[in-house]
Point group: C2
Chain length 357, copies 2
Amino acid sequence: MKRFFLLTVALLTVWAAAAQMRFVDATELNLIGKALPTPHPYHRIDTVAYKGFTKGENQQVRCSAGLALVFKTNSTRIDLEPQYTSFVYAGASTPRVASEGFDLYIRKDGEWLYAASRAPKKRGEAYTMISRMDSSEKECLLYLPNYSELTSLRVGVDEGATITPMENPFRHKIVIFGSSFTHGVSTSRAGMSYPMQIGRNTGLCFCSIACSGNCKLQPYFADYLGDVKDADAMVFDAFSNPDAKMIEERLIPFIERIRAKLPSTPLIFVQTIYRESGNFDLRSRKIEEDKRDMARRQMAEAMKRFDNVYFVDKADLTGTDHVTSADGTHPSDLGYWRWAQNLQPELLKVFRKCGIR
Amino acid sequence: MKRFFLLTVALLTVWAAAAQMRFVDATELNLIGKALPTPHPYHRIDTVAYKGFTKGENQQVRCSAGLALVFKTNSTRIDLEPQYTSFVYAGASTPRVASEGFDLYIRKDGEWLYAASRAPKKRGEAYTMISRMDSSEKECLLYLPNYSELTSLRVGVDEGATITPMENPFRHKIVIFGSSFTHGVSTSRAGMSYPMQIGRNTGLCFCSIACSGNCKLQPYFADYLGDVKDADAMVFDAFSNPDAKMIEERLIPFIERIRAKLPSTPLIFVQTIYRESGNFDLRSRKIEEDKRDMARRQMAEAMKRFDNVYFVDKADLTGTDHVTSADGTHPSDLGYWRWAQNLQPELLKVFRKCGIR
């Protein structure tokens, strides 16, 4: 009898929890952070229209890194029901919250304040992101997973609550193309990649084409970027993945190829950061030093040849105390936070020169 | 023919890589960070001798969180061959590097400098932690996984290189008992839990009995701690897991039980940190505020009743900008780093009072 009673209570609880939520498809809200529209809602690049990418690159640009949903709701609880393809990220330094979870901020006193970050316990199941809030109307910014391919997403609110799309709260359009660093590998959650942090801090809209390990000045990426006619500027973490020889051979042709389509868009290249693997691994240290030297040389040449091409070459963006690495290559949240804090004023200086405020 | 040639080259490469390494069992080196000896080398508490723990607590104290190997070697490369039990940590906010990987530091100019952190690609396989170093003799500090149970560990060095146990470079014996925070849940690597950071910064030896979610002032933990006769002090992150009612009921009896065995060992309790889940989740905020208030009340009473009992009740140990959370509960590396930086001077003040320098 006791068991029957407990079962009844359990069933009623499940029913009550399910009954009180109303789900809307995320496509009814506003998805921001995409450089160009795609037929598939959660892909960053239309891999049917744009060719030349490797299989791995195709997979990566179908991941939702840098995309975010903006909406208003007076719900006291927000549930999510994401559906994923079978692709699962296997990197050892990135937790599931970042690779397949969501990261929620709510605007308070004009600032984006952390609200919740969570991955489903089991992929594809509806789960509660946050609950037990007051019922005032809130402006929500929800980052999608860094390293998963979504097929659909539904957002659940209290049955009687409102949920409406919100205008993009970020201004301008800055496309950022980069490596695993820009992708946010080893961040604790999607909103902690340095472009997303700088976006929240400054109110500027960053559209990320980060492609972990594959930001190598490839011509087909230049072709894609050249089609983003309405970008106010483009930022490149372009010296983290290629070796010195690749930078020597590819940088000028890469810029030329973009310039053929975009004669004047500001192109801002950023030096690659110090890797902690070089503290004792002498070959790693040499490879990284060679890359940085070559980037300096080639950027000097590029800035002679092209107008509106800039190079941010600041040392020690993640500090000098060597405590910021997750795996010798990628920073942890500590490193990404310092990177955002230190890069932001440098980028803002260049943006101001280009009339981006 | 070409395929045969490539296969031969591949086999020779594998053979050469294998042949050049010599493995020693980690038990031949020096394992530090254990409060009391255990028959099993990588368990923190002898769960055969100490009873009363739940199944989950038994599992956790068999994990190697806070244990570290210290040795000297002139090898240019260090390989590891860990063997694990089938237990796999399932937390979504902790990357594999922290839960089953290793974290290596090498002493340089008197400081512990980050060298490498890495998990095996596949559990139980030998893998290279670091290579291509110079061949000077190095003092190595290797943290074991935070959240795995090791059955064995072998350390590989160049065939002609030396590897010898090293004396414990840390002084005193500070036992630290705490929650997932002390355990290091959501750190990027084992060396980033706040006790291990403070240990490297100060040279003090912290022995961690962290037990994620299970630091609830249980009498059987008091019994265990009471047996650590040679501890210079004990630190408790004891208000993160229990609710206000538990703190009210259990704190005084818990201290009494330890004091029965340890009449004068300094017992230093630390206030629980702010949880970012409370930014909007009103119930979470209330629960945490109630806990902190109750901790204050009960600690005032405890300090009246017992000598050498201290309370570190400092706010905002992880900052006030709300950017440090991995999942609403646990800090990311950014939060753990700030926590260590801010808690360290407070602990040192109390340690100095107790003659620990």
